[in-house]
């Protein structure tokens, strides 16, 4: 499924526009890097695409249709800080199975170990938690994945492990993906093309 953003504009009440007139189209199976200087609203754009924020102007279409805001959102966003993305009062198996029940092969692919399931979030490292967040986001209804600095807080080995797993799934399911990362080498390695947000927006 392709995702389209049409004429998107966003700002917080009473603040200047973060971006306006943003148009972008991403085809299924395409991995696209998103670049912009700090403070240009990369995160806000990701949140709009994944349904976390409503755009002030414009719309997001999936296969030409607006996205239904009820139910499992077909565009899933993975955040930078996994420790904020899980409820600290939930055990990990509850966290993992909140939206759907990932099968064993996915858990193996992501290197999620069985004994982690009975732990509390504060007993796992950031890298371990992020694997859960990735598994949780890759439900059967997920058509599109956005990784906003997904592995920024992780060491190189864990980063490589997680990305190898994600790439395998994304290819297998022919999903589209947006990668936001300040790490240029990573973006080069992963992405088919790179969009520069400050080149496709006006900040009036």
């Amino acid at each position: 499924m392709k995702i389209e953003a049409k004429n998107l504009g966003f700002r917080y009440d009473g603040y200047p526009w973060l971006f306006r007139n943003v148009d972008l189209t991403i085809q299924p199976g395409e991995i696209v890097g998103l670049k912009a200087p700090s403070g240009y609203g990369k995160t806000s754009l990701c949140k709009i695409l994944a349904g976390y924020e409503k755009p002030v102007e414009g719309e997001v279409l999936l296969n030409g249709e607006p996205i239904n805001s009820k139910g499992f959102h077909p565009v899933q966003l993975i955040f930078q800080h996994p420790e904020k993305a899980v409820n600290p009062r939930w055990k990990m198996d509850k966290v993992l199975n909140e939206g759907w029940r990932p099968d064993q092969s996915l858990l193996d692919l992501l290197g999620i170990e069985k004994e982690w399931m009975t732990r509390w979030p504060n007993e796992l490292s950031g890298g371990e938690l992020q694997r859960f967040c990735v598994a949780r986001a890759l439900g059967p209804d997920t058509k599109f994945l956005i990784a906003d600095e997904m592995t920024t807080m992780l060491d190189a080995i864990t980063q490589a492990q997680i990305w190898h797993a994600v790439l395998e799934i994304v290819r297998e399911r022919n999903m589209g993906m947006i990668v936001v990362s300040h790490e240029e080498k990573l973006v080069q390695r992963l992405c088919h093309r790179v969009i520069n947000l400050d080149e496709i927006t006006s900040r009036m």
């Binding site: 700090s38 490292s125 950031g126 060491d155 190189a156 864990t158 490589a160």
Partner: protein, 307 residues
């Protein structure tokens, strides 16, 4: 001349492992690190390897349930907790990892000025903000109005105006764009060249390499290797420890090759070499005892195989 010496540092915590059972967990064991004047030492390793705790131990801000052994010396003087408190913020300055350390109710310009110990606080703050590409209006904003990158640069400014001799920067770069990272790192370099020292705690090897003189590779609470920065090149042939090599080859610009497994939890550390369960060259001997740190080719390594 060494400005900061950490000798045989171990840190353990009394923790409740279940609802009522307490255990002592050793999070850092037998750690030695020396920071020389005019030097930038990068401490790299996975999260949970004890990097941040090292910083907290040096500053004397470990939580109440921590048990610490070993010595920390500043300019040859063994630090006590009273001395640490005096030095904190004046001679030794921490750039914390979390942007939550900013006071949410104070304008950021004012917060930065409060750290200036000599000179005109306003000019100092404005100069630093300019160097770090923080626009003029930013000083009047509150932390919640800043983007993640801007908040991080504000933390950086706080340490830079303080006039400290040692800066310990705990993950200063994530979420910053390359231009700002470059600028911040350049500032560290300039700072070290004045005869001060920087300990750069990071998992971002790439940016560490651009400015550091030495790299200490952390794994599961101890240093696996201390290597001059020139050793990090090619396929990592000049590196001494298999973990350093694996870390190096996992970078996106090198092989992007992961090795399986994950760092052991501190309540389930292997008895011998901490890296042995994931090590490609491990032998039964590796599982028997923790290898000691030894000198090797202008660096140090904790591995019985390399020579």
């Amino acid at each position: 001349m060494p400005i900061l010496e950490v000798e045989d540092l171990s840190i353990s915590f009394k923790q409740y492992t279940s609802k009522w059972q307490q255990e002592t967990l050793t999070v850092i064991s037998g750690l030695d690190v020396v920071l020389e004047e005019g030097e930038i030492l990068a401490v790299v390793g996975a999260s949970g390897s004890g990097k941040s705790l090292l910083a907290h131990a040096i500053l004397g801000i470990l939580p109440g349930n921590a048990i610490q052994s070993g010595t920390i010396k500043y300019k040859g003087e063994t630090l006590t907790s009273a001395r640490q408190e005096e030095l904190r913020g004046s001679e030794i300055s921490l750039i914390p990892q979390s942007v939550n350390y900013l006071d949410p109710l104070m304008r950021v310009g004012k917060q930065v000025r409060a750290s200036a110990k000599s000179g005109d606080p306003v000019t100092l703050q404005r100069d630093v903000f300019e160097q770090l590409h923080l626009q003029e209006g930013v000083e009047n904003l509150y932390p919640f109005q800043l983007s993640g990158g801007m908040a991080r640069r504000t933390l950086l400014s706080t340490a830079m105006v303080s006039g400290a001799k040692v800066i310990i920067a705990d993950e200063p770069t994530p979420g910053l764009d390359p231009v700002v990272i470059k600028e911040a790192l350049k500032n560290f370099r300039a700072f070290a060249d004045q005869g001060c020292a920087v300990m750069l705690i990071t998992h971002d090897i790439e940016s560490a390499l651009t400015i550091a003189d030495k790299i200490a590779v952390f794994y599961a609470g101890t240093t696996m290797e201390i290597a001059p920065v020139e050793n990090f090149k090619g396929k990592g042939e000049a590196l001494r420890h298999p973990y350093s090599k694996a870390l190096w080859n996992a970078l996106p610009q090198n092989g992007f090759t992961p090795i399986p497994g994950s760092q052991p939890q501190s309540n389930a550390l292997p008895p011998g070499c901490l890296f042995a369960p994931r090590c490609p060259i491990a032998t039964p001997a590796c599982g028997e005892a923790r290898p000691e740190m030894r000198e090797l080719r202008d660096g140090k390594v904790r591995c019985i195989h390399e020579d």
